[in-house]
């Protein structure tokens, strides 16, 4: 593991720098266009945001090389895992940016601050996912949180948006305070903030023997903060309310970005700080606490609760929120197995999840633009008005279910095979049962869309897609349909991402 100083780190940091500069540029463009008309002004701020994100995406691809190092004196990691997630975050932001353009919910508000916040969250998600220092983790996590609190409450005249934001900030502040307390105890126990030094300190037998309870408390406290971001049980309370109240494009973003970054922190913290490579693709825990069991229990509870609670939902956004909790459980399965395959499976799942979940939310946005409702029952008769849209939604939902020809199956296959390979057959069975339960509520939406008739007697007028949304739907749906053909690419990405900082 190479430790680079500030100046030599900068060359690996181009996407982040591009994002920071573009957020300042957007702020500036917003200010100088104060006297323009609304549509002009929106153009003036959307274009620099898009350019910034695309340029950052380009550099993120260009920078995904073979080097692996601890940048800025071991503050953030540069490795395969981080490089893949970096691309993932920027890509999801581009999608979300394009979602906002014609969204009916955000039509009446000024977009300037929203785009600045979007760029901030994007860049700080990258920092969060790559932090290998407790202070960096905390700071990046809080930057993500604070910016997304404002994004959730962006519709300031809307009661739901405001309430969601208040709930989000209170739960967020509590969990971050709890995590901070845990971090302070960990700092005291090991005398360091650097995750790799913490691992070294915890390998010391003397400390291990005497610090069992302390380490246990620390892990529980820190899991509160990470679990909040991942929305895993028991820190998932906020998730349905916030997802329902937030503007839908923001919800779509929250369901991908911070969640993935939360899992990245989980991997960095537990694989980097609390376990060490033990030959082959295996990791072994350091310290005297069996945190693997904790993670497994959390994973099982999370997916079961998510799936069961989703069964009774009538609001699409709420249903997708519970579905995203369930998916967090599946991703957690990959994290809990403590092998390289587990990390591969997580990343593969997250990549696929990006396409299927954002796709489902895009359909929700389009339908809401048209019918102005998020209730499942109002989706009745969509099939007659927009057959293509319904088919596309079908693909996304089948993918979320994990039905074979679609990409979602591939994601689940990765996770379950990693779990079985680690010798945890029962864990895979639990996952399988959960997938079966999950199928119910996804099918329910489909049934409403396809079968249930529109009660209004007037002839159904066809739903017209904005060209930009049609293009986005196409981009999102294709990877889902040809899922199995993408196996080779996904495999390469997954293997590349397994290159965590000190295990190449």
């Amino acid at each position: 593991m190479e430790r680079l100083d500030t100046v030599s780190s900068l060359q690996y940091f181009v996407p982040e720098i591009v994002l920071v500069f573009s957020l300042m540029a957007v702020l500036f463009c917003d200010l100088i266009s104060k006297n323009r008309s609304q549509s002009e002004r929106r153009l003036v701020i959307v274009i620099p945001t898009l350019i910034g994100l695309v340029v950052a995406l380009f550099y993120a691809f260009a920078g995904a090389g073979e080097v692996s190092a601890g940048l800025f004196n071991n503050m953030v990691a540069l490795d395969g895992f981080g490089n893949v997630l970096r691309i993932l975050f920027i890509a999801s932001s581009i999608f979300v940016l394009l979602f906002t353009v014609h969204s009916k919910e955000l039509k009446s508000v000024h977009h300037g601050e929203l785009l600045v916040l979007l760029l901030t969250v994007t860049v700080s998600l990258i920092w969060m996912a790559n932090s290998i220092n407790l202070m960096m983790i905390y700071l990046a996590l809080e930057t993500v949180s604070i910016a997304s609190y404002v994004m959730v409450g962006y519709l300031k005249t809307d009661r739901f948006s405001n309430e969601a934001s208040l709930k989000y900030i209170i739960f967020g502040a509590v969990s971050s305070g709890t995590m901070l307390f845990g971090m302070s105890l960990l700092f005291g126990l090991t005398g360091s903030l650097d995750l790799y030094e913490i691992r070294a300190a915890l390998s010391n037998q003397e400390i291990v023997a005497s610090s069992g309870p302390a380490l246990m408390v620390i892990i529980v406290l820190i899991l509160a903060g990470i679990g909040f971001k991942m929305a895993t049980v028991p820190f998932h309370f906020w998730c349905p309310d916030v997802y329902t109240g937030a503007p839908t494009p923001v919800t779509a973003f929250l369901s991908v970005g911070p969640k993935v970054a939360g899992f990245a922190v989980l991997v960095r913290f537990f694989y980097g700080g609390l376990s060490e490579p033990a030959g082959g693709h295996n990791w072994a825990m350091v310290g005297s606490v069996d945190w693997q069991t904790i993670l497994m229990v959390v994973a099982v509870l999370t997916m079961s609760l998510g799936n069961i609670a989703a069964l009774t939902q009538t609001n699409v956004k709420r249903l997708l929120a519970y579905s995203s909790i369930a998916h967090a459980g599946y991703i957690m399965m990959g994290a809990a197995v403590l092998t390289g395959e587990g990390i591969q499976a997580m990343v593969a799942y997250m990549v696929v999840y990006l396409f299927m979940n954002l796709g489902a939310f895009l359909v929700v946005i389009i339908v809401h633009n048209e019918i102005g409702s998020f209730e499942v029952k109002d989706y009745a008769g969509i099939w007659r008005r927009a057959p293509m849209l319904t088919l596309v939604m079908g693909v996304f939902l089948f993918s979320l279910m994990g039905i074979p020809p679609f990409a979602g199956f591939l994601a689940k296959w990765y996770v379950f095979s990693a779990v079985i390979k680690a010798g945890l057959g029962w864990f895979a069975v639990v996952g399988g049962v959960n997938s079966a339960i999950g199928a119910f509520y996804y099918l329910q939406i489909l049934k409403t869309m396809f079968v249930d008739g529109d009660e209004t007697p007037s002839p159904a007028k066809p739903l017209i897609l904005q060209p930009i949304y049609a293009g986005l739907l196409f981009v999102l749906v294709v990877p889902n349909i040809i899922g199995l053909l993408l196996w080779g690419y996904l495999d390469r990405v997954a293997q590349y991402s397994q290159r965590l900082l000190d295990v190449i």
Binding site: E142, T157, K167, I169, V174, L180, S184, F187, G188
Partner: protein, 101 residues
């Protein structure tokens, strides 16, 4: 000299008090105050450890960042509270429960 454990126990007490306020208070601003108590408890820990365990200023730098973050967080939180107050004319948490299910 006061030993390390004294500071840690006081910090734990402060943390638990914050937790108690958090669980029992209805007013959003009061809940935010309780959260500040938790942040302060963690900061006492950090600084005590940086004095007794590491003997350098690393923990103090962390505490400095925590103070900065706490300031940002309460600014945004109170802005949200104000914004919600304009709609609800009150900031008791059980009132803010239109989102249910």
């Amino acid at each position: 000299m006061i030993p390390l454990e004294y500071y840690l126990v006081v910090a734990s007490a402060l943390f638990s008090l914050g937790l108690f306020g958090l669980l029992t208070k209805k007013n959003a601003v009061n809940v935010l105050m309780s959260i500040e108590l938790m942040f302060n408890a963690a900061n006492i820990n950090l600084i005590a450890f940086s004095r007794f365990v590491t003997g350098d200023t690393e923990g103090q730098v962390f505490a400095l960042f925590v103070i900065v973050i706490a300031a940002c967080e309460s600014a945004v939180a109170l802005a949200i509270v104000m914004s919600l107050y304009r709609i609800l004319k009150g900031v008791d948490l059980p009132e803010a429960s239109a989102l249910k299910g």
